[in-house]
């Protein structure tokens, strides 16, 4: 057994047990590498033997073999609803996968405050808002409010952080101007609505504005939201992005690490 090939957790050492093969990773259904998955979709035609075959054919085109359409129902006039099972032909090389990740080591509340006190030697200032027409505040508040999220204190609770939460529906320019006024170190933007990629356009627009005013390097730009990720955020020109399950201490850890990096670069 090597690093790339090993027995699954708890497997007895027996010749019939196949190892996990990271070079050719496939879904595990009922046995190693069987590749079995379920698929569900609707087609804009009435149920019929032809519709069923069309559904199976679509799955074969997706790379499934041993396709079984296990359910075909009439969803309404002119629409059919399918559940299909198949084994996927493809595999991925897990050892070659690289993902852009936020550069930080997650730390706890006390450690973060202590780092700010000893390394930055002043309170740090963070401002945040949900921008554009987006009215969702719960995620943003989870980051900022004293009580925090899932037992993790919010930024307002940190003695070494001055946090300002501007709420929702804030135009990009107002957020930037408020950040200048506060002399903020970091700007946090929440984006929840993603219809027609409005979150992406909104974030890009923020960065264009920041560039135009020469404020790009003045702040650490951070975005967050359920459909956001670090790579997407970087693609939009920001410094970091956080998705579902983010805790306030995650963001605080990143801001502190990044500020320290920036201080050291200046030296």
């Amino acid at each position: 057994m090597s690093k790339d090939s090993f027995l699954p957790y708890g497997a007895p050492n027996h010749s019939s047990v196949k190892p996990v093969d990271l070079k050719n990773l496939k879904p595990y259904g009922d046995a190693m590498n069987d590749g079995r998955m379920q698929v569900n979709f609707t087609l804009p035609v009435e149920p019929s033997p032809e519709a069923q075959e069309a559904a199976a054919e679509l799955m074969r085109k997706m790379g499934f073999v041993d396709v079984k359409i296990v359910d075909m129902q009439k969803a309404s006039e002119g629409f059919s609803f399918f559940v299909g099972y198949g084994a996927i032909n493809h595999s991925v090389d897990f050892t070659k996968i690289t993902v852009l990740k936020v550069e930080t080591v997650f730390k706890g509340f006390d450690e973060i405050n202590e780092l700010i006190r000893t390394k930055i030697k002043r309170k740090i200032r963070i401002i945040g808002a949900t921008t554009g027409f987006d009215a969702h505040t719960v995620g943003l508040d989870a980051m900022f409010n004293m009580k925090g999220y899932k037992g993790d204190y919010g930024l307002e609770r940190y003695p070494m952080i001055e946090a300002k939460n501007m709420g929702a529906q804030v135009p990009n320019i107002e957020l930037l101007e408020a950040a200048i006024k506060m002399n903020a170190d970091a700007i946090m933007v929440s984006q929840v609505v993603t219809e027609k990629d409005c979150h992406i356009n909104n974030l890009k627009d923020l960065m264009v504005l920041a560039d135009k005013h020469g404020w790009r390097d003045r702040f650490i730009f951070i975005s967050g939201g359920p459909r956001l990720s670090h790579p997407l955020s970087v693609e939009c020109g920001l410094d970091a992005g956080f998705g579902t399950g983010t805790l306030p201490s995650h963001v605080a850890s990143y801001v502190v690490d990044e500020l320290i990096r920036r201080l050291e670069r200046k030296k």
Binding site: T42, A75, G167, Q169, V193, E195, P226
Partner: protein, 528 residues
């Protein structure tokens, strides 16, 4: 299945709500808003729009009110100036409107005609508009004579099944709405495009481009109503249509909905303030007019307390919902609405992993039923704790369906397994409806078979929520509604009396303020 709740406490809650609404009512009666003026114009037949340089249509009603505002004469009421111009120029209302929109006429510069004659002209237009609305109400009644009505005012039938469509394109929405009706939906809501609530005008014509929803326009209302009428005839069951009377155009949407025979409207006295940061006064004044319109056209209102539980914890804050329901009920009564048209809102939003959380949800739902026995309660599904795991979500929604049918809710918003991901796909809606059809059928009479253990967990929880609501209402009585909202009594949101959007559009009525539509509504409603 009934809970033993303290009747004195319930009565106290209602009497406090009355005191609170009395103060607000005074403020309401002394003010009007740009949106109410535009609504009056719309009812009087001003429904055109003109194309601006940027290619967008801008409603005539807005052009008139903008001009009057600019010339500082709006306080007499837009209807007065319109009728005055009609008399002097001997032109129809729409012709006058078109001239204003093209900037060829300044209403305030037209010599004042005899007051009695102006008012007579205006009242005739208002009467024609109101008559049209009354006609639409009769049309609905007629349809319900030969079509099955999924709604039973005594709640012997399971709740009405309500789903949303939100493709952004009204024509696509029609396809999905009809499919949903066939799969069992009784009510179709066309979700509005993101942030339409912040537009201070109602877009014009049919629309095909929206974000997370489809624009509410008069033409879109008409298109969907026509399609649902056809589908209703085909299915032999009346399919209701809903939209959103909230935001800066709350009263106008109500008027257009009445004209186009929508059946329900989301219409809350506080939602805009708390969730869209619309000015407090603006919302309170606007909701009163909107609800009078609903009362006249027998549109069910749906209130928005369910939303409180998305920003405030649902286990701890059930009392905010109940307190707000008492206020919403009172404000609706003040607008001459009957209880049987009040879809007071609430939701199943507790953390699903809370021990015995399902019991607590049953307690809250049954308590709401018992306290508002006539109201077609609007019960919202889990949303906040929905995550990407659609399989768990489907199970979670199934429990919601069961709680809803056993506690005899009135309007049941179907939960979608994909709630945390996107506005529903056709297949998501189908899955959700199938599950609901199963549970509503299989447990149709469950509520009549069960009794709660006296002093058990369920009963005690409902008593606790009621008691806390009374305490909250007492606080609101002490400090007044405005300060209560400022001090985060609802949804953990704080708003100020003069903050928020749309405050500029509120004005104090002139001694000779004139609004023939509001007068006609008043007459019709009191006459009942």
């Amino acid at each position: 299945m009934k809970l033993r709740l303290n009747k004195t406490q319930i009565a106290q809650c209602r009497s406090i709500a009355k005191v609170v609404s009395r103060d607000v009512g005074k403020m309401i009666s002394q003010h009007s808003t740009v949106a109410i003026e535009r609504s009056a114009l719309r009812v009087m037949g001003i429904c055109g729009a003109h194309k601006k340089a940027d290619g967008q249509f801008y409603p005539h009603a807005n052009a008139i009110v903008d001009q009057l505002e600019k010339d500082n004469v709006l306080a007499r009421g837009a209807s007065f100036w319109l009728a005055n111009a009609m008399l002097q120029l001997e032109k129809s209302a729409e012709d006058v409107a078109a001239l204003v929109a093209e900037d060829k006429l300044r209403l305030s510069e037209i010599p004042l005609q005899k007051k009695a004659a102006v008012e007579k002209t205006a009242r005739a237009l208002a009467k024609a508009g109101v008559t049209k609305i009354v006609e639409q109400k009769k049309n609905r009644k007629n349809l319900l004579k030969h079509l099955d009505d999924p709604h039973d005012p005594s709640f012997k039938k399971p709740p009405m099944k309500y789903v949303i469509v939100a493709s952004g394109n009204i024509f696509e929405d029609v396809v999905q709405a009809r499919a949903a009706a066939q799969a069992g939906a009784d009510v179709i809501a066309v979700i509005r495009s993101t942030a339409q609530s912040l537009l201070d005008y109602v877009p014009h014509g049919s629309t095909t481009e929206g974000f997370g929803g489809t624009y509410a326009t008069q033409e879109n209302f008409r298109i969907m109503r026509r399609a649902l009428d056809e589908e209703s005839e085909k299915l032999g069951r009346y399919i209701r249509l809903t939209n959103y009377s909230s935001g800066l155009c709350m009263p106008e949407i109500a008027s257009l909905a009445a004209i186009e025979r929508l059946d329900f409207l989301l219409c809350d006295s506080l939602y805009g303030i708390l969730f869209r940061d619309i000015n407090m006064k603006r919302t309170l004044i606007d909701q009163h007019f909107s609800r009078m319109m609903c009362a006249l056209s027998e549109i069910f209102i749906n209130t928005g307390e369910d939303n409180y539980l998305t920003t405030a914890d649902a286990v701890e804050n059930g009392h905010q919902v109940l307190a707000s329901q008492f206020l919403n009920e009172r404000f609706a009564l003040d607008a001459h609405m009957k209880e049987s048209f009040m879809g007071l809102g609430h939701a199943m939003e507790m953390n699903p992993w809370h021990p015995n959380g399902i019991l607590l949800e049953i307690a809250r739902a049954q308590m709401t039923r018992d306290i508002f026995p006539k109201a077609p309660l609007k019960y919202m599904p889990p949303t906040r704790h929905m995550e990407g795991d659609i399989f768990f979500g489907h199970v979670y929604d199934a429990i919601f369906n069961l709680v809803s049918v056993m506690t005899k809710q009135g309007i049941h918003l179907l939960g979608m397994p994909t709630e945390a991901i996107h506005t529903p796909l056709l297949g998501d809606r189908y899955m959700a409806l199938k599950s609901c059809n199963y549970i509503f059928g299989g447990a149709a009479d469950l509520g009549d078979e069960l009794i709660f253990r006296p002093n058990g967990k369920i009963e005690k929880w409902s008593q606790k929520v009621l008691k806390e609501s009374l305490q909250l209402l007492k606080k609101i009585e002490r400090i007044g509604l405005y300060r209560a909202i400022e001090e985060k009594c609802f949804a953990e949101v704080s708003r100020s009396l003069t903050g928020g959007k749309g405050f500029k559009g509120v004005f104090e009525k002139h001694a000779e303020y004139f609004n023939p539509v509001q007068d006609a509504l008043e007459v019709e409603l009191v006459k009942r």
